[in-house]
């Protein structure tokens, strides 16, 4: 496993939507885990102020949007300061999807927080997924209020205590190890962590399923839970079977988790950031905030 990372600086990228501040507030508990600075970031979409057909650039409009975001951010900084955390502001004109990942690297952020504050729809839209595909630092896809469907009913989940009880989705991969390290780095903010592994189809068809389950449980405890407990947190292991993303979410519901942590294990591009199908699906359908940790720290 790599050295334990620290979450000292967070880049909070926002489109200043509804409930964005509520999402921001949920991060303050990370001060107990060593958080020192939050960089508030807003990208004014280039298309909103540039490329006026046969015109050029709406300088005044860009300035107005910059001021608007600045006033809001200054207000937020008071709350951040009240929590004993430093803050800075980054407001740029650019491409929100393409530029956020680059700014996270430039600002040497340990964690990028993105997501909409809206109340409805899936957790991640094309905007969020676009950022995830490009990002080389851990990303928390956050939504303060998320609507979801369970047992045919529509419910709304308030994601307030995000870090209290995270659920780590583990599959023995280097990315999972990295996600574990990241979980350990949040020790001061986490009380208890769950670890879940979803059994694959081959194991389900094996001769002694119960024995396999017990072996996996033991392995899960040894490889992940012991490390978590050594960091001063409680840990519990779970084995599930079925469609991975659905089962991880189901486990999160059953243990009352605040968020899901997973390794970004995409294989589409070995040399660059990638988003695997499970992590992609988790972001799409989960009502829980999802923290994706790439296998290699690009910083």
């Amino acid at each position: 496993m790599d050295g334990v990372p620290k979450i000292e600086r967070i880049l909070f990228a926002t489109r200043l939507g509804e409930m964005a501040f509520n999402s921001l507030e949920t991060l303050f508990v990370l001060k107990a885990a060593g958080l020192r600075e939050i960089v508030l970031c807003h990208i004014i979409p280039r298309e909103d102020v540039g490329f006026v057909p046969f015109g050029g650039y709406l300088r005044k409009e860009a300035e107005r949007l910059r001021q608007e975001a600045g006033i809001k951010f200054e207000d937020w900084r008071q709350a951040i300061s009240g929590a004993g955390i430093e803050s800075r502001i980054v407001i740029e004109v650019g491409a929100p999807v393409q530029d956020v990942a680059g700014i996270a690297l430039r600002e040497q952020a340990d964690l990028l927080v993105i997501g909409r504050g809206g109340r409805i729809g899936p957790l991640a839209g094309s905007h969020t997924l676009g950022i995830l595909r490009r990002c080389r630092v851990p990303v928390l896809v956050h939504r303060y209020l998320a609507r979801f469907e369970a047992e045919g009913e529509i419910a709304v989940k308030e994601n307030r205590l995000v870090f209290e009880k995270p659920l780590l989705a583990a599959d023995w991969s280097p990315a999972s190890d990295r996600a574990l390290s990241f979980l350990v780095s949040m020790a001061g903010a986490v009380e208890k962590a769950g670890v879940v592994h979803v059994i694959d189809e081959k194991a389900l068809l094996g001769p002694d399923l119960e024995n396999t389950r017990q072996q996996l449980l033991t392995r899960l405890r040894q490889r992940y839970c012991d490390t978590i407990e050594r960091a001063g947190m409680k840990a519990e292991a779970h084995i599930a079977a079925g469609q991975p993303a659905r089962e991880i979410i189901e486990t999160a519901r059953s243990i009352g988790a605040g968020m899901i942590i997973a390794g970004a294990t995409g294989k589409e591009k070995p040399e660059g950031p990638a988003l695997g199908s499970v992590s992609h699906r988790l972001c799409e359908i989960s009502e829980f905030p999802v923290l994706l940790v790439p296998a290699i720290d690009a910083r």
């Binding site: 298309e47 006026v52 057909p53 046969f54 650039y57 300088r59 004109v93």
Partner: protein, 463 residues
């Protein structure tokens, strides 16, 4: 009234009333005035404005002239607009997949070389493509300079306009000429015209910038990087496979002009099979570029489809609304603008008339209007391609004048050619102080381009 498609645009042109060109003028005036008078409104609603003028051109004529008018509009959309947008989109996509990196030193000499490279590239990857490829590296290279305005202005002159004069790939007007029957290599006849214009502009730029450069004091720590200095990144081109896609697209254009594979009828409009194949190949090359270019390259280029969408939307309205005018002009003396042919009757007239219209009302419709006027003047009532072939054979100076006027004068204002506003937008976003609409004209176009175009007239069109 039952519709029957007919493509006798010449007889339709003779019958069309003068008021049928009002929507076209309305859209052109909107394009000229609204970005200046109401930029926010225009930015948010240009699509509706374009659609409104297009509808106002289309609906009354279809009601009054039925299938004949409908046929003329369909012919314009299928044979002119669609290939135009496919090519423009392909060039935009392909050039957006090429990335130039490295922190070259922005000096009068290196900038002149970069402008020269851009000028030469423009004819083969389009003025939009070359401008999008080079504007960011150029601005980066001059980040340490106090005065960056001059190089961007000359970039608009040369790379976004004059450099595109040599092939139908270069500038939209020339591609519209190609679609109307002008052979691919015919536009190489503009080489002397372009050589004079580009040579003179490069010389003027170098002399002016050298003077400015000497008076500039590079800020501490922001000075130009020298060879071997820490932090220097070597010059590098990424996404080079896109040059292959570009070459295949150029090959498709040339091949389509040489082949005759018959014609097919599509929604009542006749199209050459070779032209359909050409458009498919060009589209596939754009697709290949999108599929086989690393995402990071487009990200670093700031690639977005938005400017192309804008051009596609505005030009849809423009093509529809200019259909009546083109029909009237093609009818020659029999049409309501027969007087125009009597007044504008020499190559120099065409150079300045097409140029003036290009300066203020975009160069693509300006080219088509005066190309059709020339055809109507000499071969009224004759089919487009046949008339174009005769014009090239018997009166080539007129087409040279229309071509050079449309391409060169596109640089005269920000609204003369689509890449102008893209370059301006990127430059302003990067912190380059750009002059306003009038400032651009008064300080640069009138002082530099006007004498140059007078010289062009005296040398090439003074008969």
């Amino acid at each position: 009234m039952p519709f029957s498609f007919s493509f006798s645009s010449e007889s339709l042109g003779a019958a069309l009333p003068v008021w049928s060109v009002i929507p076209f003028l309305g859209l052109l005036v909107s394009m000229a005035v609204m970005p200046l008078a109401a930029p926010k409104f225009w930015h948010d609603h240009f699509g509706k404005v374009s659609a409104l003028w297009g509808f106002l051109a289309f609906a009354p004529l279809v009601v009054l002239y039925g299938g004949q008018a409908l046929g003329s509009f369909l012919d314009m959309i299928i044979n002119e607009y669609l290939p135009f947008i496919i090519l423009l989109g392909a060039l935009y996509a392909i050039s957006g997949g090429i990335l130039i990196t490295g922190n070259q030193r922005g000096t009068p000499g290196s900038n002149t070389v970069m402008l020269l490279i851009g000028t030469l590239l423009a004819s083969f990857m389009g003025t939009t493509g070359a401008a999008m490829l080079l504007i960011r590296p150029l601005i980066r290279a001059n980040a340490h300079r106090q005065n960056r305005t001059l190089v961007v202005i000359f970039f608009i002159f040369l790379v976004a306009n004059i450099g595109g004069a040599l092939t139908p790939f270069g500038d939209p007007p020339l591609f519209l000429g190609f679609l109307s029957g002008v052979p691919f290599f015919w536009t190489f006849r503009l080489l002397p015209h372009m050589f004079l214009a580009a040579g003179a502009l490069l010389l003027v730029y170098y002399l002016l910038d050298r003077r400015i450069f000497k008076s500039e004091e590079c800020a501490e720590g922001k000075g130009p990087l020298r060879a071997g200095q820490a932090g220097q990144k070597p010059f590098r081109v990424r996404g080079a496979q896109n040059f292959v896609f570009l070459l295949v697209a150029i090959g498709a254009l040339i091949a389509a002009g040489q082949m005759s594979l018959g014609r097919v009828s599509f929604l009542g409009a006749q199209r050459d099979v070779s032209e359909i194949l050409r458009d498919i190949v060009v589209f596939l090359m754009a697709l290949c570029s999108m599929l086989f270019t690393a995402r990071e390259i487009r990200d670093e280029n700031g690639f977005t489809w938005f400017p192309l969408k804008e051009v596609a939307v505005i030009f849809a309205g423009l093509f529809v609304s200019m259909t009546p005018l083109l029909d009237i002009l093609q009818a020659g003396a029999a049409g309501h603008f027969g007087f125009l042919m009597r007044v504008v009757n020499r190559p120099s007239h065409y150079f300045w008339a097409a140029g003036t219209l290009s300066s203020f009302l975009d160069n693509a419709p300006a080219y088509l209007a005066f190309f059709k006027a020339a055809l109507g003047s000499f071969y009224a009532g004759m089919g487009g391609r046949r008339a174009a072939a005769l014009l090239i054979m018997q009166h080539p100076a007129y087409l040279e004048a229309v071509s050079a006027g449309s391409v060169f004068f596109g640089a005269f204002t920000y609204i003369g050619n689509a890449p102008n506003f893209m370059v301006r937008s990127i430059a302003e976003e990067s912190g380059v102080e750009m002059p306003g609409f009038l400032g651009y004209m008064l300080k640069f176009s009138l002082l530099i381009l006007l004498p140059l175009f007078i010289l062009e007239t005296l040398i090439f069109f003074s008969y």
